[in-house]
Point group: C2
Chain length 227, copies 2
């Protein structure tokens, strides 16, 4: 980088409009862009300010520092899948499905949603690595979301199974495989760079759900609704 400080302005065409609110949103958006493009390691006062084309001191002034900015970003950002998305588009149709089918489809939809959301992936990765003022903030938001989902969709304490534990296993596996696949395609004998591998994982999860919830052969290749 031979360019100087002012070069930051190149990136954002509009000149900072001497407008507090506009500058605030510029900064919040800069966090998202930086997360998606460079990953959470790049998220720092200097980098965010540079990305927004704004002086870093404004982060202190308007947000009280990076913690405040991250918090605002977490509140406004819609990087989590919606209920509707997890239900595959039609919540009513979804709710009328039998339990195993419902769980299986929700899992598939969650996996697809996560794979399409680089920012969400970045946040999950971040949470795995360090606990700091940023990640604790973001974790609370994530936990609330997960909680709402299971409460709305999965009221199943029937059977002899531990849905919380099984859910943690499936959810953890999805998070792990998606996050990891950004850097390494190979995991065991799967090539996570190929759609074929993801379909195998999807089917395997479906198989797990169905054999857990009702030990009987599962309907073949019914991929179900998806948003």
């Amino acid at each position: 980088m031979t360019i100087k400080t002012r070069s930051a302005k190149i990136k954002s065409s509009e000149p900072p409009a001497r407008n507090r609110e506009a500058t605030r949103t510029r900064l919040i958006e800069a966090v998202g862009n930086l997360l998606a493009r460079e990953g959470f390691r790049a998220v720092g006062i200097n980098a965010v300010a540079r990305e927004a084309g704004v002086d870093k001191v404004l982060i202190y002034r308007y947000f009280g520092g990076m913690k405040g900015l991250i918090s605002s970003f977490g509140q406004e950002g819609n990087f989590w899948p919606t209920m509707k998305e997890l239900a595959g588009g039609d919540i009513d149709a979804f709710m009328s499905l039998p339990l195993a089918e419902r769980a299986s489809q929700m899992i598939s939809n969650f996996m697809h949603s996560l794979r399409k959301r680089p920012i969400t992936q970045e946040i999950l990765a971040w949470e795995m690595i360090e606990q700091n003022e940023f990640t604790t903030e973001l974790d609370i938001i994530r936990e609330n979301m997960m909680k709402r989902f299971v409460e709305s969709f999965m009221p199943c304490d029937e059977l002899g199974i531990d849905t919380d534990a099984e859910g943690a296993i499936i959810g953890g596996a999805i998070n792990y495989l998606v996050i990891r696949s950004r850097n390494f395609s190979r995991f065991g004998s799967l090539n996570l760079g190929t759609e074929e591998a993801w379909e195998r994982i999807e089917k395997a999860m479906r198989r797990i759900i169905f054999s857990l919830i009702k030990p009987q052969p599962l309907p073949e290749t019914d991929r179900g609704v998806r948003g």
Copy 2:
């Protein structure tokens, strides 16, 4: 830190013995110590040299840089569970178990092994976050190990299941939950800070394996051998 550069020597009592081999091992051990104590983010030329109580230029001289040092560390470090450990101590006894029992116990043993190995956790976390000269090096070692395990222990292409995919799910879930639990104890409604939660996960995995491999009720609370 008000102390100066030379303060590094405080940490390692023995004066650097003007001995190339000894210095090399000091550096390699410093990597492991630093990984365990501070995490991979702290692993850099400066920090490692400081930890070893040695000048950083020796890393360039003896290892050609950090990449070389990490590679040597990866080769010598025994941070992966051994075959024997995964088998629960007695390989022969282990191999004579029925398939589902074998898989279930190996999974439990792997989880316990990983939970006891902070350095291994750190490496897995590192691999999730970035791909660089260090992690690609370490990933090759990890993949080879995993490969050897499944080949030796799990020759099962029977049944209508996809063992690679199911293995990736279980393995991914273990890696995720263990790594994540270092920073956040809560995941969904589980409290990963408690042994109780881990036992629930263990049982859930056992339930998954048994219902996958042979759809019939599983033996209750048989924890099996463990190293």
